[in-house]
């Protein structure tokens, strides 16, 4: 396999197009790109199986988006009453994951947490993938994706400062650019073996920390600024969004870290994981408290505005589609919280992933469908209806996630390669170096 890829690369690098690209980018950058790509596409059977699995789901996404573009959104379960569904729910959740990446960057650069500092770039890679997933979900959700150019600067119109969606697009794209710049600048300097220029890099990092808060705040404003939907019209929404994001985000990061620790030669220190599990514990606790406050405030006097929450928790007029999801997610969150609260369990890396999966899943339900659908049911004129995602909708959602995981896999693999020193300037691939992957470098700890 390696020989084939190598042959293909050799062949490609001789083509005129690639030479042209090389000339424009400069030698070092194009060598970085080549080394990066070459490192990423190499892998074992499990790696290729994973990639092909993702490609299968991405096929579903392409088919679904093709149907959406040609036939409209008629194949989804959305209706005049429930005009947003699975797509927007995932979008909201994923903005949280993107923002949650700051739980690595913040302790690393503000509190100089050593273990996290070493792997901070992985958080940026996660943020990039999450934002791209958000954009993909937006495209699936839009009725006219072909008219996206109406939102471009100069040729389009931005309804600023009024439209929260316009703000949301701005901050999301900004966050993507910040992370691309920060992440790849770090990797590139590391690749060349040069120190970072702190005057450029640190401001970038500090801005992206504040920016991470802004993306999720604006996403909360997106729905909390609508008095027409009492379920969302809460001033608690932004803080709740951020708190749940800082529980779900690091949960995913811990899972990824544990996989990296077990499957690659990059060792992620216990202190890094413990720091993250601490953050999840606090944030999950606060999130549960906020949920509790909401329930008491809404249900104490039980006004018409609480109908959405009542529908979510108990069902109304015999419609109880969301009831098991609500209680399931609550149970998952409480279990995860109790596990994390116990130091012995939290530091047991066989039990910790269970808590992370529970917290991640629990928040996905709570903040996704569990928040979005009760905003539509009852409708503003008090109508109770049903929303069931269609198979196509579920496939497109899975496809979007698969696309995100594909990008994440590629970005993480390359970043790990750079961190390990496998991708390094001057250590350019040659046939002799091809099997370097199987030789453990000196930096690898024995305990792996």
């Amino acid at each position: 396999m390696d020989k084939i890829t190598h042959f293909v690369f050799d062949y490609l690098s001789e083509t005129r197009l690639l030479r042209e690209v090389k000339r424009i980018l400069g030698d070092k950058v194009s060598q970085f790109v080549l080394d990066y790509v070459f490192y990423v596409v190499k892998g074992g059977l499990a790696f290729y199986a994973w990639i092909f699995f993702l490609f299968g789901l991405i096929g579903c996404l392409l088919y679904g988006d093709f149907l959406h573009a040609t036939e409209g959104l008629t194949y989804t379960g959305m209706t005049s009453q429930v005009s947003d569904g699975l797509y927007l729910a995932n979008l909201i959740f994923l903005v949280g994951i993107a923002a949650g990446a700051v739980t690595i960057v913040f302790p690393a650069y503000v509190y100089h947490h050593n273990a996290l500092h070493k792997v901070a770039v992985l958080g940026e890679m996660l943020a990039i993938s999450a934002v791209i997933m958000c954009i993909l979900f937006v495209l699936s959700h839009m009725g006219r994706p072909d008219r996206l150019w109406h939102m471009l600067p100069i040729i389009g119109i931005y309804n600023l400062p009024y439209s929260m969606l316009a703000w949301d697009t701005l901050v999301l794209i900004g966050y993507l650019l910040l992370n691309l710049a920060g992440g790849f600048y770090f990797l590139y300097r590391k690749y060349l073996g040069l120190p970072l220029n702190d005057k450029f890099y640190l401001p970038l990092i500090y801005i992206s920390i504040v920016w991470a808060l802004s993306i999720h705040t604006v996403t909360a404003f997106l729905i909390s600024t609508m008095p027409a939907r009492p379920m969302w019209h809460h001033d608690m929404m932004p803080i709740r969004f951020i708190i749940t994001a800082f529980a779900a985000g690091p949960s995913l990061i811990i899972l990824i870290f544990l996989i990296i620790r077990n499957r690659t030669r990059l060792w992620i220190e216990n202190e890094a994981i413990d720091m993250l599990s601490h953050i999840i514990t606090y944030c999950l606790g606060i999130a549960l408290f906020l949920s509790f406050s909401e329930v008491v405030t809404e249900l104490y006097h039980d006004t018409e505005h609480s109908l959405g929450l009542k529908f979510l928790m108990f069902g109304v007029q015999g419609l109880d589609d969301l009831v098991p999801w609500y209680w399931g997610s609550l149970a998952a969150n409480i279990t995860a919280f109790l596990i994390l609260l116990t130091p012995r369990l939290r530091k047991n890396y066989y039990i910790l992933p269970i808590a992370c999966i529970l917290a991640f899943g629990g928040i996905w339900v709570e903040k996704g469908m569990g928040l979005l659908i009760p905003g539509f049911i009852p409708s503003p004129i008090g109508e109770f209806s049903r929303y069931l995602p269609t198979t196509l909708e579920i496939l497109v959602t899975l496809g979007n996630w698969a696309m995100g995981f594909l990008i994440l896999t590629i970005l993480l693999k390359g970043a790990i390669g750079v961190l390990l020193g496998d991708i390094k300037y001057g250590k350019a691939m040659s046939v002799n170096n091809l099997d370097a992957g199987s030789n453990a470098p000196a930096s690898m700890p024995e305990s792996a």
Binding site: G72, L73, G143, T169, M226
Partner: protein, 360 residues
């Protein structure tokens, strides 16, 4: 605009006359390609491309459609177009619609009327819930038809009158403790906005019900307009909130923001049978929509800007619906507001609707 009527839609030789213009064969593929490519080279050459379209149309060639659609796709926000561009956009649509529906379709562009602010008043006491207004609206405004349910901008809410019952007088809660915190001696009475709008009685009005029709309230402070990321929906100077269907990106934020459930989304290509299509249209009003965009009531802008009543006002058999100029103290609406008890829905949301309910 009449000068563009050179499509001869009724001529049997035109291949599109029986296939709604969707399955048009393109015998001169070369021409399409050339004009399309030159078009893509310079997207700024809008006028040239539509000229090409017109030229192709003059020669009665089917390729014209392709050109027209491209130019349509590239056009800007209607509100920001110059008068010439607006006229061009409307002419383009007239050509396309006339071909698609096989009859002469006009797309009006009458701007907001001077000294006019449209308002609506509905006598809730008179409404008998017959829903002729909703039907007339669909016929007038070219909504999508379907076997199960047409897309309706007007929904009539049926609300039970409810009652207090003497036997439930003691059914307080908590039960059996003697001291009650609350009572249960009622069935829903005077409940607002929890109506049923799928009612199918043999006869209207029903004894135990009151009816409250709703539609777009044409708010002076419309939440839907605020949230639109591309300003495709906006308030016109004479009152109605309109949508440029060609600029809408289908994000549906406006549907989330509307407290009156007045907006509808085209989940698929609208189904509008040729024979039922109303050919008298306005660019911002009842012209046929496309898939993936939002639509709503516009106070029948195509009628009211030309001195007619909205279709729902005209059709109401009991005269419950009144329409007029709020700036004219002698108009029917102004007099109703001045003399009758009026109320509006959800005014606590700072929407300031121009749709008044009243009793007499």
């Amino acid at each position: 605009m009449t000068s563009n009527q050179c499509t001869k839609p009724d001529e049997p030789a035109t291949p599109c006359s029986n296939c709604s213009g969707q399955c048009m064969p393109a015998p001169q593929v070369e021409t399409v390609d050339v004009s399309r490519r030159s078009f893509l080279k310079n997207t700024g050459m809008l006028s040239i491309s539509s000229l090409l379209g017109t030229a192709a149309l003059m020669t009665n060639s089917d390729d014209a459609k392709a050109n027209m659609e491209w130019a349509e796709w590239f056009q800007g926000n209607y509100r920001l177009m110059s008068d010439a561009e607006k006229a061009q956009a409307r002419a383009r649509l007239e050509r396309r619609y006339s071909r698609e529906y096989g009859k002469r379709v006009t797309v009006d562009g009458t701007p907001a009327l001077e000294g006019v602010l449209f308002g609506y008043a509905l006598n809730i006491k008179k409404c008998i819930g017959c829903r002729r207004c909703a039907k007339a609206c669909v016929e007038e405004n070219n909504q999508s038809r379907s076997k199960e349910e047409d897309m309706e901008w007007i929904r009539v809410l049926k609300m039970e009158k409810g009652e207090y019952s003497p036997e439930k007088r003691n059914e307080g809660f908590p039960e059996g403790l003697g001291i009650q915190v609350g009572g249960n001696a009622f069935n829903p009475v005077g409940v607002m906005l929890e109506g049923e709008h799928y009612y199918q009685p043999d006869k209207v009005p029903e004894q135990d019900s009151v009816y409250m029709p709703i539609a777009c309230m044409q708010c002076e402070n419309p939440p839907c307009v605020k949230v639109c990321p591309v300003r495709t929906t906006y308030r016109e100077a004479d009152g109605p909130v309109v949508i440029d269907y060609n600029w809408c990106i289908g994000c549906r934020m406006c549907m989330n923001a509307c407290p009156y459930w007045a907006r509808r989304f085209n989940w698929s290509e609208p189904n509008l049978p040729k024979e039922q299509m109303n050919p008298v249209t306005h660019y911002l009003g009842n012209r046929p929509r496309m898939k993936g965009v939002v639509e709503k009531c516009t106070f029948c802008i195509q009628r009211t800007r030309n001195g007619r009543y909205p279709a729902c006002v005209e059709v109401c058999p009991v005269g419950a619906r009144k329409f007029g100029n709020l700036l004219d103290p002698n108009s029917e609406v102004s007099r109703i507001i001045a003399r009758k008890p009026v109320f509006r829905l959800k005014t606590e949301l700072n929407t300031n609707p121009k749709f008044f309910y009243y009793v007499d």
